[in-house]
């Protein structure tokens, strides 16, 4: 059992290592030039040599992503509560939300440049637009699927709609909420990097765009590795918070009482 547990812990690292190994060997075996597909070791060297430049850009990407994500959590929460607690609003707003979410956000970046100029604002907004939807949908689902019997119990105690949402609806939606945060944070990274690629003077997107224009392909990969790492780090933070706050939703039967 314990050896299995350790193996489980090591699995992500082993998988990454195995993939890197296959990648490295493929490049060596087929003599792929590094301006087409650089070997992982070459990417690592580039990452090491350009670390200050990369970090300069990564800092900005992290900031714009977190700002956009924060905005998405706020708006997503409110939208989710409103949509989830009213059948009418649900029917009215849901198609609009789905429609909006179907628009490729890349197409909106030039528009935002017209409105807000080149820089961080379009990046923040793109991160926001890409990530609020899963949050809103999950909160709405959590609230809308409240057991009718439980609502009867609460209403017969004189509970207002607000009482029902705050005492039961929201706590009950927490597992859904955290599940959506893990999706949303990765989407927020996608959004900010897309926007930076198109219209910014700083950020991993800008770096990648400039590096590929100059055929510094290893640097492109180094930048992408940093984004992926930041994404994983954020994901891990929310996974940890989820475990702390919604332990009741992932029940263990270890101390269950039978009979």
């Amino acid at each position: 059992m314990t050896s299995n547990k350790w193996l489980g812990r090591a699995m992500p690292y082993l998988t990454v290592l195995a993939m890197l190994l296959v990648w490295e060997l493929t490049c060596v075996l087929f003599a792929i030039p590094s301006f087409v597909l650089p070997r992982p070791t070459v990417v690592a060297v580039s990452l090491y040599q350009n670390f200050n430049t990369i970090w300069f850009h990564a800092e900005r990407t992290l900031l714009t992503t977190l700002l956009g994500f924060g905005l998405a959590v706020g708006v997503g929460l409110i939208l989710g509560i409103v949509v989830g607690s009213s059948q009418l609003v649900y029917q009215g707003l849901y198609p609009v939300l789905v429609g909006f979410n179907s628009i490729p956000k890349v197409a909106l970046v030039p528009l935002m440049v017209v409105w807000f100029g080149i820089g961080s604002v379009p990046a923040v907004l793109t991160a926001f637009m890409l990530s609020f939807f899963p949050i809103a949908v999950n909160i709405a689902t959590g609230i809308a699927t409240l057991e009718p019997e439980l609502q009867d119990v609460l209403r017969s105690l004189g509970a207002s709609r607000l009482d029902i949402i705050s005492k039961v609806g929201l706590p009950r939606s927490l597992p859904y909420f955290f599940a959506s945060l893990k999706i949303a944070i990765t989407l927020a990274f996608v959004g900010s990097v897309i926007s930076e690629t198109l219209a910014s003077d700083r950020g991993i997107g800008t770096l990648v765009e400039q590096a590929s224009a100059n055929f510094k392909i290893p640097l492109v990969f180094a930048g992408l590795v940093v984004v992926a790492t930041l994404g994983i780090a954020m994901y891990a933070i929310f996974a940890y918070l989820e475990k702390r706050m919604t332990h009741w939703a992932t029940r263990t039967v270890e101390f269950g009482i039978g009979g």
Binding site: E147, V153, S156, L157, G158, V168, P171, L174, A249, I257
Partner: protein
């Protein structure tokens, strides 16, 4: 017992989905005396649960009037205790915290909840002890068995000392042993506090064992077709269920409900 009427249902009908929709109950007349334990039995789908919702004010009747405590029911009653077949405890709260939920909602307790918390907590612990849940206060509901959850659900329905307790097949999902244990738990609590109780059930033995009066409902659209006064002495115990009087009553009720089922469309 003073036969002061506490719940008065007069010629009530309820349509679901407009005038053309399903007729859940029709021309229903029923009254429950203060402090009485009343059971309502009937074939499944006869509108027993609709009756509960009507009395609690959760759905307005299409026709007729309902009075509780001499006041016409206009909206959800504010101080009803309810328990269902599904215990509906909140999985993120411990058993003790689940019991406190009504106190955080019902007026006037809610405004003073923080200040009175120690006292409420003591009450909740005492209540849990009475239903045999001592030592499980800090457990989460999903760590309890079905019977224990139902005991906790019963406690939650009673913690705010409601004047009216409504039970909708609360013991239907339990095994026979647990069910009969819980009959005794409910009977003991009712005998101590005499809260007016309406118990909806399809278990005739349960109805005879617990109730002062048993009303039989017809098939949908539901109305009361006959009522029986159960005169068996209290407290009734498992031996009571073997008395000739008891089995005769169950037989009579069974005949009645069979006729109602046969008459069902």
């Amino acid at each position: 017992m003073a036969s002061e009427r506490f719940v008065e249902i007069a010629d009530v009908s309820l349509h679901f989905g407009g005038a053309q929709g399903t007729l859940a109950v029709e021309h229903l007349n029923m009254s429950v005396a203060a402090g009485e334990l009343t059971a309502v039995v009937g074939p499944s789908g006869c509108g027993k649960s609709s009756l509960m919702k009507l009395v609690a004010g959760l759905v307005p009747p299409t026709r007729g009037t309902i009075e509780v405590g001499g006041v016409p029911v206009k909206g959800p009653l504010k101080v009803v205790g309810m328990a269902f077949q599904n215990p509906t405890l909140l999985p993120w709260r411990t058993t003790l915290e689940n019991l406190m939920l009504p106190l955080q909602i019902v007026r006037p307790y809610r405004s003073r909840f923080r200040a009175d918390r120690p006292q409420h907590e003591a009450n909740a612990r005492r209540l849990l002890e009475r239903v045999g849940l001592h030592g499980f206060e800090e457990r989460f509901p999903w760590q309890l068995s079905g019977g224990m959850q139902q005991r906790a659900s019963l406690c939650r329905a009673l913690i705010h000392k409601p004047s009216l307790l409504m039970l909708d097949e609360p013991f239907a999902a339990l095994d026979a042993f647990t069910r009969e244990d819980l009959w005794d738990v409910l009977q003991a609590m009712w005998m101590a506090e005499k809260f007016t109780t309406i118990l909806v059930t399809h278990d005739l033995r349960e109805a005879v064992y617990l109730a002062d009066t048993v009303h039989i409902m017809s098939a949908r659209p539901g109305r009361i077709v006959s009522s029986y006064h159960i005169d068996l002495p209290r407290p009734r115990n498992p031996e009571t269920a073997f008395l000739a009087e008891f089995t005769d009553l169950v037989h009579t009720l069974r005949e009645q409900t069979r006729k109602e089922r046969a008459a069902a469309p």
